[in-house]
């Protein structure tokens, strides 16, 4: 476990020290705040609009972080950082687990910052406190990072830098398009996670409570999917030649 955490902490430090991360967060805050400008266009509906926009943008930010990570892992493999680490007494599955945890932690920190910022913006714009469903919906949005990061790690480990991000984008997009694709057997929960399980934008907008037991279960489901994806990745990664 200590090896996994060594890799994980190295990974999240590496990501969270990139300046571009804070630029992304700043941009998202500005976009969320700009929802207040749509008072006329939305016919006075700019409050629900802001709630909706902050959730949607948080999802986009999470996806962006995961996608940018799919550049990081192939680069680490290609440049030989991974070979320095993997030639310590560290199993390949442990390395992957450390990477996944590190990426998930970094992405969760980023999205949590976005969430906190969006609440502050909301509070100052409407001088209205944050309703529980808004908080729950943001929390679920943040938790959806766990299965998303697992998909990212899968593609990033097994495909080269040019292909991995594209495949990850497609996979995340499909994971949100449950309505269209749900008739394809085995696709959701088998190969792809159902990210709609984490999507509670309408509840947040219309202030409908989400049961905490649901939040707990869906978190467990996300972790289970991540472990499954990790094992699958490890199966291939174990026999891969490392540069």
């Amino acid at each position: 476990m200590s090896e996994i955490m060594a890799i994980a902490s190295g990974t999240w430090k590496n990501i969270l020290r990139m300046k571009v991360v804070y630029f992304l967060i700043l941009c998202v805050w500005i976009l969320i705040g700009s929802a207040a400008l749509y008072e006329v266009l939305s016919m006075g509906q700019h409050k629900p609009l802001m709630i909706d926009v902050s959730l949607a943008l948080n999802a986009v930010a999470a996806a962006l972080v995961v996608i940018s990570i799919t550049f990081e892992i192939p680069r680490e493999l290609r440049q030989g950082v991974a070979s320095t680490l993997l030639t310590k007494s560290l199993g390949r599955t442990q390395y992957l687990a450390g990477k996944l945890i590190g990426i998930a932690v970094a992405a969760i920190v980023i999205c949590a910052l976005i969430t906190v910022g969006s609440f502050v913006i909301f509070y100052y714009t409407f001088t209205e406190s944050i309703a529980l469903p808004m908080f729950q919906a943001q929390l679920l949005q943040i938790l959806s990072i766990i299965p998303m990061a697992a998909i990212g790690v899968f593609f990033a480990t097994l495909f080269p830098e040019v292909v991995a991000p594209v495949l990850t984008i497609i996979a995340i997009w499909f994971s949100y398009s449950v309505g269209v694709l749900q008739n394809i057997p085995l696709l959701y929960g088998g190969i792809l996670p159902n990210l709609d399980l984490f999507n509670f934008r309408s509840q947040a907008v219309y202030h409908a409570d989400i049961p905490w037991s649901y939040v707990g279960l869906v978190t467990l489901w996300g972790i289970a999917f991540a472990i499954f994806a990790l094992m699958l990745t490890s199966l291939f990664f174990k026999v891969k030649d490392i540069k």
């Binding site: 190295g10 590496n14 030989g80 950082v81 993997l86 310590k88 007494s89 560290l90 199993g91």
Partner: protein
């Protein structure tokens, strides 16, 4: 050069050592190790590594030589469990090459060291120390110690991503000696260093052996450095082992008390000399090499006369070759045979 003077061989001969001994005496053993990079997409002309059988004795500083693309990095990566051989077997410190636990006792420097760019040198070494299971109480102290050894202490808190090639090489050595390893496997450790750095590194490598009894296995292009610090070498070309052995044996074998004459110009006197030689070999560009196993006073006089007369065209070499000419000789011989 005498034929068969240095056949691809197991080093040292281990006919009279028992199995138990073998485990104790060799830090690396490979048998018919083969790696073929070809895939269904792309066929390679020849395997990158072809039936490599070699044994590295404990306590030696072993130089692994060969021109670019000879298969040195491939061998080292197999030994470190990074790539899988297509055939043969290898043991490191008596354990199979893919054993995870044994890595705690090995220090490894990859051919182009790269580290997590946003971490400082100290933080990266701390990650390595944790992976090597150095107890947390000693970790910080040990990291500072190795940074001091490789003279990177002033840059301990700078981000690795900003380092030059030579500085990366220093951090690379630091992480390799972090666990005071029993075996150091270094891929081109002297590359990218300034002359001071090379000197320091040679000292660090030798210190690891003298102080901690480490065995060292390293690949290199820089023959003068190899000659300076290695006690044994092997030469690899196009994936095949050309020779292996103690440096002193390889460089003086058969020519003890003898002499080697290189000839580029032929007249009657030279032809007469040829008939006296123990071995005559034709090289490229009409060059000939004559080997005399024993040097009689009369022969000595004849050679000196001829070389006075023909100048550079008749060149007399010492009994002991330097590593450079030995290396070139071996590689050229092999390339000719297989062209």
């Amino acid at each position: 050069m005498t034929e068969g003077r240095c056949k691809p061989s197991v080093f040292p001969p281990r006919t009279d050592t028992g199995r138990e001994d073998t485990l104790d005496n060799f830090v690396i053993e490979t048998e018919n190790l083969t790696k073929d990079y070809s895939s269904w997409l792309r066929k390679a002309k020849r395997p990158a590594l072809n039936n490599l059988t070699i044994s590295i004795p404990k306590g030696s500083v072993f130089g692994f030589l060969g021109p670019n693309g000879a298969g040195k990095t491939t061998t080292i990566k197999i030994l470190m469990g990074l790539i899988r051989p297509t055939g043969g077997m290898a043991t490191v410190l008596g354990k199979p090459y893919d054993d995870v636990e044994v890595k705690n006792r090995i220090g490894f420097l990859p051919d182009s060291p790269a580290f997590t760019p946003q971490l400082s040198a100290m933080e990266f070494l701390d990650v390595c120390a944790r992976l090597l299971k150095i107890p947390s109480s000693k970790r910080k102290q040990r990291v500072e110690e190795v940074l001091e050894i490789v003279r990177m202490a002033p840059h301990a808190k700078s981000k690795v991503g900003t380092f030059s090639r030579g500085m990366l090489q220093r951090v690379g050595i630091a992480q390799a000696i972090l666990n005071s390893p029993e075996l150091l496997i270094l891929d081109e450790p002297l590359l990218g260093l300034d002359p001071y750095g090379r000197q320091e590194f040679k000292e660090i490598i030798l210190e690891q052996r003298d102080k901690f009894g480490a065995s060292v296995f390293f690949s290199s292009h820089i023959l003068s450095d190899v000659e300076e610090i290695c006690d044994s070498i092997s030469i690899l070309n196009k994936g095949r082992l050309l020779c292996a052995g103690k440096l002193s044996d390889l460089l003086s074998r058969d020519t003890d008390n003898g002499v080697l004459v290189k000839i580029r110009q032929c007249d009657d006197a030279v032809k007469a000399l040829m008939t006296d030689a123990d071995n005559v070999q034709k090289k490229e560009n009409d060059e000939w090499e004559l080997t005399f196993k024993t040097l009689s006073p009369e022969l000595d006089r004849k050679i000196n006369e001829l070389s006075a007369k023909h100048g550079e065209a008749v060149k007399r070499l010492n009994a002991r070759e330097d590593l450079e000419s030995f290396f070139f000789g071996k590689i050229e011989e092999d390339n000719l045979e297989n062209s």
